[in-house]
């Protein structure tokens, strides 16, 4: 970079003449004028006095605002409709590692594809939103609740499933756009899945009818289930089709 000849004998905004030392103390008077202006205008100008009297009135929260994650469940039953499959992707991606997940298993040790324990430590969480970004099951989202102070330093700060799970209605309330998009994509995926299942059932019927035909047809049925619109296909579903 070359230092140019473009020299300006000026401070930022004012023409040079005004910056000269006209009267001793001139700058001091200028400052007094500014503070007096602020003092008087703070009584009637809203953009001077921007303070919000917090507990009584609240500044609006922007729709994008994120704070602490929550888990979404479909339908009315929080237990049955839980979208989380305890895949642990969020647990691994979490930078401060504040998520703790235990997979629920039945007596035979087979995965139930749902978490037995899902805990987020509020005192460690830094509200970055990466868990919500990486979740392939549309299960974890960022809340906009920010009044989270608690009396108890240990127990109350550890959020278990009972406090984390919230309904889709809640999601739709705090983030209407995102919830609508997710609902639409899930609906599309579900329809696709249904169609695929139907196709599969038909194929199975066909298969039963035309017993012992080519095996390749089954593989093709698996391909049809891939999503086209970017929603990640849950790995467990892929596992099902194999």
């Amino acid at each position: 970079m070359e230092s140019s000849a473009n020299t300006e004998n000026a401070t930022a905004s004012k023409p040079p003449a005004e910056q000269k030392w006209i009267l001793p103390g001139w700058g001091l008077y200028q400052g007094l004028v500014v503070t007096a202006k602020n003092f008087i205008q703070s009584y009637y100008k809203k953009d001077r006095l921007t303070t919000v009297q917090y507990p009584e009135e609240r500044a609006p929260i922007s729709p994008n605002f994120r704070n602490f994650p929550f888990l979404v469940h479909d339908g009315d039953d929080a237990d049955a409709g839980l979208r989380c499959t305890a895949c642990s992707i969020c647990e691994k991606s979490c930078p401060p590692q504040c998520i703790y997940i235990v997979l629920d298993r039945d007596e035979n040790g087979k995965s139930k594809k749902r978490p037995k324990v899902f805990e987020i430590d509020l005192s460690v969480c830094m509200n970055c939103g990466i868990c919500a970004e990486v979740c392939p099951f549309d299960s974890i989202y960022m809340d906009n609740e920010f009044e989270l102070s608690k009396d108890d330093r240990f127990g109350d700060m550890l959020y278990g499933l009972d406090r984390l799970v919230k309904s889709t209605d809640y999601h739709a309330k705090i983030r209407p756009e995102q919830a609508a998009a997710v609902a639409a994509s899930r609906k599309a995926a579900a329809e696709k899945k249904e169609a695929a299942a139907k196709a599969k059932a038909e194929r199975l019927k066909k298969k039963a009818e035309e017993a012992k035909l080519k095996k390749e047809q089954e593989e093709k049925g698996g391909d049809a289930q891939d999503d086209a619109d970017g929603t990640p296909t849950p790995p467990s579903e892929k596992g099902d089709t194999k």
Partner: protein, 384 residues
């Protein structure tokens, strides 16, 4: 500098003088104007500083080592917490380094968004600097409150864009996390257009004030050769008369498309450092006006890149930007794994702080506080 030379010519601690005559004061870590938990062990002769040893590390959080043990994306929210006054430039620098490492293309709209957010951050940082600097000089908070009032407006913009007021975690490898919300550009334009008036007011409060002139002129001077040798960058170096700005030198992103100038001073004292920041804000507003007018439609992120699953071929990359405080660089070495093999930050605050003793020797205790303020440090970045 005759006063300084005169004092330094007296027998002092280093020259084996009477140690009992010196008053040793520990300025910090709990001191009102060390900008956090910084400490200076000062030996005073009267009120004159004869030795000053900076002590830091009180805010060490092991940032670099943590980054080596988590995926690349996981470090992004941590970079917000380096220089917590300007998170978006930190995001920008880190994203730039990873993009260099992975050879990732960035769509044009994303570049524009990055430049808008980075320049807004620069404006924010310099505005808040004015407030803190005046606080260090003993003005009872008025300038600081005006600066905070304006910063709130910027925070509202950032909240709407990124979802968080300070800890933005916004940039992604190959773009940004989300697109600009509807109406955001309009709000940003209103803010930028109204900011000149605020700067005028701030200048008439600060710039001509005779007490400030007397307190800051010819205080904390260092020659430009010395500064270059010490690796000092940013407004501090430019105030000393070196027009070095990475936005021009590297022209990273699309900075070469904008019409702006690099202000630089001559004396390199505290007053020049303050003035350079004022002038820089005006230049940033120029860039912002151009960028807001020109921003194209398109992708906000490179759709091919999956930030969460980012992996790089073995190799290394150094990405740097002109942060508000100086050259902010991230050095990454990849061994082909999910986590970086080595992750290093080149923090401008830390490097700019290295000459603090040379700047303060022979001056008053009151000047130490002013000089420290003029360097503009954030301890989150110094200690990492």
């Amino acid at each position: 500098m005759s006063r300084k030379e005169n004092i330094l010519s007296k027998p002092t601690l280093e020259t084996g003088a009477d140690e009992d005559q010196l008053l040793r004061v520990s300025l910090g870590p709990q001191h009102p104007s060390t900008h956090g938990v910084f400490r200076m062990n000062v030996a005073l002769d009267g009120e004159t500083v004869v030795s000053l040893k900076p002590v830091f590390g009180y805010l060490h959080r092991n940032h670099e080592k943590i980054a080596e043990n988590i995926p690349y994306l996981g470090s992004m929210p941590y970079t917000d917490r380096l220089d917590y006054l300007c998170p978006l430039t930190n995001n920008h620098a880190y994203a730039l380094a990873v993009e260099k490492l992975g050879g990732i293309e960035v769509p044009e709209r994303a570049e524009y968004i990055r430049i808008i957010t980075s320049e807004l951050t620069r404006v924010m940082n310099h505005t808040v600097f004015m407030g803190f600097f005046l606080g260090d000089l003993g003005a009872w908070g008025s300038a600081l409150m005006y600066a905070f009032r304006e910063r709130e407006k910027l925070f509202d913009l950032f909240e709407e864009l990124t979802g968080a007021r300070m800890m933005t975690n916004y940039m992604r490898f190959g773009g940004c996390r989300n697109d600009l919300p509807a109406g955001w550009i309009k709000k940003a334009r209103t803010f930028v257009d109204g900011y000149d008036a605020f700067l005028d007011e701030m200048e008439s409060l600060i710039v001509g004030n005779e007490i400030l002139l007397a307190r800051t002129q010819n205080i904390g001077q260092i020659s430009k050769e010395r500064m270059i040798n010490a690796g000092i960058t940013g407004p501090m170096l430019r105030a000393a008369g070196v027009p070095y700005d990475i936005r021009k030198v590297d022209a990273y992103g699309i900075y070469d498309r904008f019409d702006f100038k690099i202000p630089y001073g001559e004396n390199g004292d505290c007053y020049d450092r303050m003035m350079i920041r004022f002038l820089e804000m005006r230049e940033s507003l120029k860039i912002l006006k151009q960028a807001i007018a020109d921003i194209p439609e398109g992708d906000f992120v490179n759709p091919k890149v999956k930030s969460a699953k980012f992996k790089a071929k073995p190799g290394e990359a150094y990405g740097r930007i002109e942060g508000p405080k100086g050259e902010l660089g991230f050095h990454l070495i990849s061994d082909g794994g999910v986590n970086p093999y080595r992750y290093h930050v080149r923090p401008p605050s830390f490097v700019n702080l290295t000459l603090i003793e040379d700047m303060c020797l022979g001056l008053d205790l009151a000047d130490v506080v002013v000089i420290l303020g003029s360097v503009d440090i954030v301890l989150g970045e110094v200690d990492r």
